[in-house]
Subunit: 238 residues, 2 copies
């Protein structure tokens, strides 16, 4: 365990257990560094983690304060650090996948540009219905370069593509860029998500990339509006 992570976890525990008052600042960085026997830079890095999570806020010249709304609403640890993929997000649920479409094709201009490839590079085109605890949840429309994500089988599609990429292909997923919007449901949504024609859809458009910077996935996840919301933490610069 890295030192700053251990310290960060301990401070977080103290905040959650209300061992620090929310009306006055927590101890200053130098005192905390002394207590945890580390340098001030390391202490700062430990606190940075909690600032990023929206749990702490610093006031220059004053001190470091607890964000009251965070502790009350337990909203921490969402946003930029979370894992990708339903399989990771819902570890305790039973997830099934129904394969609606599975083909290899040449991408159109739009798909190609998001994947940083040409329209001559073949891609997998996969449409999967993800079913959580027996209920239809999200319809995923995914494009992946077939030379990059090689060896896909229906068996993998029934489980987790991300896990295959990480564990079998040995690739490292670095992050993603997303757009979240509301839209009307189309016939495909209604058919597979079992929703009414006036039920809205929460759509997440996403480009995911590997730790080489290469995009490996361009996808549209269409969620039932009653099964999903997206959370985010914004930290403004002073």
């Amino acid at each position: 365990m890295k030192k700053y992570e251990a310290i960060s976890a301990e401070i977080k525990r103290r905040i959650m257990e209300k061992e620090y008052s929310t009306d006055s600042p927590i101890p200053d960085e130098i005192s905390l560094a002394k207590e945890f026997a580390c340098s001030r830079m390391t202490m700062k890095k430990a606190l940075d983690v909690l600032v990023m999570e929206g749990l702490l806020y610093r006031k220059r010249g004053h001190g470091t304060f607890i964000v009251k709304s965070a502790i009350d609403n337990k909203l921490v640890n969402v946003g930029t650090g979370e894992s990708l993929g339903l399989t990771n997000l819902l570890k305790n649920k039973k997830i099934e996948s129904k394969i609606v479409l599975y083909e290899v094709m040449f991408p159109n201009e739009e798909v190609a540009s998001h994947l940083s490839i040409t329209t001559k590079t073949p891609v997998y085109h996969i449409v999967r219905l993800r079913i959580v605890d027996g209920e239809p949840y999200v319809l995923e429309d995914t494009y992946m370069p077939s030379d990059l994500i090689s060896g896909l089988t229906e068996e993998i599609l029934h489980f987790s593509i991300y896990q295959y990429i990480k564990e079998k292909l040995g690739l490292t997923i670095a992050g993603s860029h997303r757009k979240i919007r509301a839209c009307k449901s189309n016939e495909l949504d209604q058919q597979y998500l079992n929703c009414a024609s006036d039920d809205p859809i929460l759509e997440v458009e996403q480009v995911s990339y590997l730790n080489t910077g290469t995009p490996f996935e361009y996808s549209f996840s269409r969620h039932r509006y009653d099964k999903f919301f997206f959370t985010a933490v914004s930290i403004l610069k002073p």
Copy 2:
């Protein structure tokens, strides 16, 4: 200008102007530190900024790489660092506000808990329709403790509450926690946003807090589905 910000901006410029190849790593941290006449820690901090924006990715033992999908799709600088408030987001547009409701009331349990106050603390309850370039855009339902955000007038509501908080009250807005979801439109939405009964709504539920950690706003922003999408960058830890 802080040194690391200046360096960060210069590196970003080089990436955008394609002065670095996307197929090989950018120069290593030590070389860059030498070039910019700074310590390696400062160089690292400058690169951290771009990693956070999803523009760069580091591979330990290999080097630092450009995220291809970021440069292609110009998706940078969205996510956790953006300013709050429509007035900031759409600086070049003409924004009008129609006040639908403006009252002082005692909050219910839910509102009170999100604002970390009791149900005995009076709050402003404001419903505003925001109109951008003549088109209805978003219906905002906002609660703010009236003792904290004092002296609100209809004139301010017609312009920007956030600007008033920052410039007139001298308070500093630190950040916010958000939930984004799709929902069906209700009669109020249809009336003010001029949308059809089967038009979906993109709702952003938000708790914003000051740099003291005190929540000052609990709000629901109901956006026309064809006028708004939310963007986010996820950076996963290795």
